[in-house]
């Protein structure tokens, strides 16, 4: 099922959930060959009728070939652009194909697509432009290292002080965006580590950003890209960017 970019109508919109058919699920994937097929199948299972677009971010393994075996749309970036570039490509796809909503779900299988309903409900209830799935709002338990939790608390303080609103999970990659947010982020989106920055950017642009409690699953395959020295670089960069208001948008 693909939406017509001009008319905005679904080409095969029959017998699909009207809610999910309006949603484009963006799955950024870098070297996720072990998890990508299961992630896509899981999304189709829990969100029947939605459009899934896998953004293969220049993977060096067979993520692209594996993603092609699914029914998802696969956009193959010839170079590794990083998570920001990959997700923005998804926004461009959703914007061009006229989708009203876009989900961001990581390709590592950590997000349960079954929880998407919670985010949709929250978006409708609050009239928000962006809903972030938070693992720290009481649904289930998520194990994390002490240093990671300290880092997340620091980011929570930074973002909350800048936006004057409380955000508990600023690094969550499980998010729902409405059409306004899709259009905005298709044009401008941070380059590196965009999750934290986008909350501040969206709030500054007058968009309403809220959180919804979700469960986060442990990684099935691979390792987080933010570990070791990179986590120190990540923290310094985020603090520098947000505290000086110099967002790495393009």
């Amino acid at each position: 099922m693909v939406r017509d970019s001009e008319s905005g109508e679904s080409r095969t919109a029959s017998n699909v959930s009207p809610q999910f058919s309006e949603i484009c699920v963006i799955v950024p994937a870098y070297n996720e060959s072990g998890a990508i097929v299961r992630t896509v199948e899981n999304i189709f299972d829990k969100m029947p009728g939605c459009e899934i677009v896998v953004i293969n971010d220049g993977s060096t393994d067979d993520t692209y070939q594996r993603a092609l075996t699914t029914n998802a749309q696969v956009v193959n970036l010839p170079n590794n652009l990083g998570i920001g570039g990959a997700v923005q490509t998804g926004f461009k796809f959703a914007e061009t194909h006229g989708f009203n909503y876009a989900f961001q779900i990581d390709g590592d299988g950590q997000h349960d697509p079954g929880e998407s309903v919670l985010l949709i409900e929250r978006l409708i209830q609050t009239g928000a432009d962006i809903v972030i799935g938070s693992r720290w709002l009481g649904r289930g338990e998520f194990n994390s290292t002490t240093s990671r939790r300290i880092g997340m608390k620091a980011l929570e303080w930074l973002v909350s002080s800048k936006t004057k609103e409380r955000f508990t999970d600023t690094t969550s990659g499980f998010r729902l965006f409405n059409r306004r947010a899709i259009q905005q982020f298709a044009l401008h989106y941070p380059t590196d580590y965009p999750e934290v920055e986008t909350i501040v950017i969206a709030t500054r642009m007058g968009m309403k950003v809220v959180e919804a409690p979700v469960k986060m699953l442990p990684r099935e395959h691979g390792k987080s890209s933010i570990r070791g020295f990179r986590s120190a670089y990540f923290m310094i960069r985020i603090f520098l960017t947000i505290s000086t208001n110099t967002f790495g948008v393009s």
Binding site: V2, I55, Q73, V74, V75, N76, L77, P78, N79, L81, G85, Q88, T89, K92, F93, T96, T191, S250
Partner: protein, 116 residues
């Protein structure tokens, strides 16, 4: 005029000629060329003019003791300017490459979808 000044003046002049030649052959763009021309011209002035004539207020202000140390300072400063300019160019090109990569991937996806 010391030997080091003669050497600096000759190499700076040669460098200026290389920059002008590169510009004429379109191997560097105008903006970069302007920076390099200013840089090499400043080196020539530092090496060949300052030893004979330097306004006393400027000498006092900068605390210039030897022309070669002033030349080194000028060289480092202009190199910093040029490196900063190149950083700006690289940043701009990174944004352009990102856009091109995205557009290419989306176009390929669109064409493959039409073909299937």
């Amino acid at each position: 005029m010391s030997r080091i000044n003669v050497f600096l003046a000759i190499t700076s002049l040669l460098f200026l000629l290389v920059v002008v030649r590169s510009l004429r052959q379109r191997r560097i763009n105008e903006l970069t060329a302007i920076l390099w021309i200013v840089f090499s011209f400043a080196l020539v002035v530092t090496a060949a003019v300052l030893p004979f004539w330097a306004p006393k207020p400027i000498v006092r202000f900068f605390g210039i003791k030897t022309e070669s140390s002033f030349g080194t300072y000028c060289g480092i400063f202009f190199l910093l300017v040029i490196v900063f300019h190149i950083t700006e160019v690289i940043t701009k090109q990174a944004v352009q490459i990102r856009k091109l990569t995205q557009e290419l991937a989306l176009l390929k996806n669109s064409n493959e979808h039409k073909g299937s």
